[in-house]
């Protein structure tokens, strides 16, 4: 807050009071960016949680679990900007995904991934899921490996199936860990910037513009520094509310 007032002073802006804030409240692009962040982030977070949990559950007692862990970890170790280029090439410039889809008969023509709102969002979701499922996976598999083997064994002797072991033993035990891991990942997803900057630049028609990209575009492309600061402050308030409620609780329960 304090620094965002500073900015106004540095660039010698005339004081317009809350003008930036009243403008932003009625700015459709601002709300669209907020909505896009929620949609893209929500879908990718849900997908990567489910995939990470499934993969972790299927490999945690596997004899080769150390090998699986390294393989499944790899996408996360790439620089995010490099990952964005991998998928930009695969989807758009190299047309590899279209070609594969054509050869298995899903589509008949080259798909222009940036032409439709949902296809463009899908490319961002794929890139995020690919890179960050490992984050959740590595935490989940660690938790599962720490699970008491004797309880599992006893349940199995009683004739419990793997699915009932998962729902009745593993999942309740892991609840606090899942909350912490998903919360952390959720926070990082809301800051999504690199992929948007490299892959879509917010196209088509702002459908993939996230909050971070909105602030960047307003501030550093259009040089509306005051406006960008106002958006930052609103986003900051939102973050503080979330941090104070969800995260604080998540970390408390993670400790106990």
């Amino acid at each position: 807050m304090y620094q965002s007032l500073f900015v106004v002073k540095f660039v010698n802006w005339s004081w317009i009071g809350l003008g930036n804030y009243t403008r932003i409240i009625v700015d459709r692009e601002f709300w669209a960016a907020l909505g896009n962040t929620a949609i893209i982030g929500g879908i990718s977070l849900a997908l990567q949680s489910v995939i990470a949990m499934a993969v972790a559950f299927f490999c945690y007692r596997d004899p080769f679990v150390r090998g699986w862990r390294i393989v499944f970890l790899m996408p996360m170790l790439f620089m995010p900007s490099a990952v964005a280029f991998i998928w930009k090439l695969a989807f758009n410039d190299g047309r590899v995904i279209s070609d594969v889809l054509m050869s298995i008969g899903v589509v008949s023509n080259n798909v222009d991934w940036l032409s439709s709102i949902w296809l463009a969002r899908l490319t961002l979701i794929v890139a995020d899921v690919w890179q960050w499922t490992p984050f959740l996976f590595i935490i989940f598999v660690g938790a599962l490996q720490g699970q008491d083997e004797e309880i599992e064994e006893a349940a199995r002797l009683d004739g419990a199936s793997w699915s009932s072991i998962f729902w009745n033993i593993s999942l309740p035990m892991m609840r606090p860990i899942i909350v912490v891991a998903v919360t952390l990942r959720g926070i990082d997803i809301t800051t999504m910037f690199t992929n948007v900057y490299i892959m879509t630049q917010g196209t088509p028609g702002g459908a993939t513009e996230t909050m971070s990209f909105f602030i960047y575009r307003q501030g550093f492309r259009m040089f509306n520094f005051g406006y960008a600061s106002a958006a930052s402050v609103l986003m900051l308030i939102l973050t503080i509310v979330i941090a104070q409620t969800v995260v604080r609780r998540a970390f408390k329960s993670g400790k106990s």
Binding site: L77, M79, L89, I139, G142
Partner: protein, 280 residues
């Protein structure tokens, strides 16, 4: 282990199909991107993808002749290493205080430190930009070093604090009865005892710093300060479009050391990534 195999061949097969499928999803893009690095440019951006490459070292030659790749690498190393050193110098005493001293509002201060991790970098992008502009530090590796240090400080503090909390108090009390002061205890007991935690914190901070994109994009504007992460975004040859083979090569230059570091700290990784909240 044997008991799982008893649970039926059918589910074992299903399990392996799922695991192998996901392994392919993880590996195929990486391997494919690696081959991109060794192809001529004419084979990459094409209407119909070419799956069997003709090998060439074009990208490598291009990198050496047209791009100051050595200075990108040097900038990354200097900024990242410097930021990790700053982080450790500040975070170890802070973590010690948060783990051991009793004072009012300790939990709150701990949480405020943590909450900087929750803020989107874009929120502080505008003020940070003007702060460094006024200090005359735009386009400088030192600015990047300070920013990376600030981004990772909370994370490093929390990871080290979590490891310090695990050290039994008795160890400390014994030294105290022998007349050791706080600094001696920190230096001779706490730091050696939580060395794995310190190394984990340093590695994770280094990875986040290597990956940092937004601030580097704002602060750096020439090869004086470009790091590998942002230099990638500038590999465009004007009308020729994005130079993917050079991008692929550079991304593997960064990938190799990160992979080695991560394998070294594998056991501590999930604890580090959750800032100590999960003791996996």
């Amino acid at each position: 282990m044997a008991s799982i195999r008893k649970s039926g061949g059918e589910s074992l097969l299903l399990r392996y199909i799922i695991l192998v499928a996901w392994a392919l999803v993880c590996l195929v893009p990486i391997i494919w991107f690696l081959t991109i690095g060794f192809r001529p440019r004419t084979e990459i951006i094409v209407p119909k993808p070419i799956y069997w490459p003709t090998w060439s070292l074009d990208a490598w030659r291009l990198l050496v002749s047209d791009w100051p790749i050595a200075s990108y690498l040097r900038n990354s190393v200097v900024a990242v290493a410097g930021s990790v050193v700053i982080d450790l110098l500040l975070a170890i005493p802070a973590a010690f205080a948060l783990a051991r001293y009793e004072f009012r509002g300790r939990e709150d201060i701990g949480f405020y430190i943590l909450s900087t991790r929750m803020m989107a970098p874009a929120i502080v992008a505008v003020p940070i930009f003007f702060l460094f502009k006024n200090m005359g530090l735009l386009d400088s590796v030192w600015a990047l070093m300070l920013i990376y240090a600030a981004i990772n400080l909370s994370l490093v503090t929390w990871i080290i604090r979590s490891y310090m909390l695990d050290i039994p108090k008795e160890l400390e009390d014994a030294a105290r009865t022998d007349g050791a002061g706080d600094l001696t205890i920190l230096w001779e007991i706490m730091i050696p005892a939580c060395l794995p935690g310190i190394i984990t914190a340093a590695v994770i901070a280094a990875i986040f710093a290597i990956n940092e994109f937004l601030f580097t994009l704002l602060i750096a504007s020439t090869s004086k300060a470009y790091t590998m992460s942002v230099a990638l975004a500038n590999f465009t040859g004007g009308s020729d479009g994005v130079i993917y083979n050079a991008i692929a090569l550079v991304s593997f230059l960064a990938f190799a050391p990160i992979l080695i570091l991560v394998i070294l700290i594998q056991k501590h990784l999930s604890r580090g990534l959750t800032m100590g909240a999960v003791k996996g």
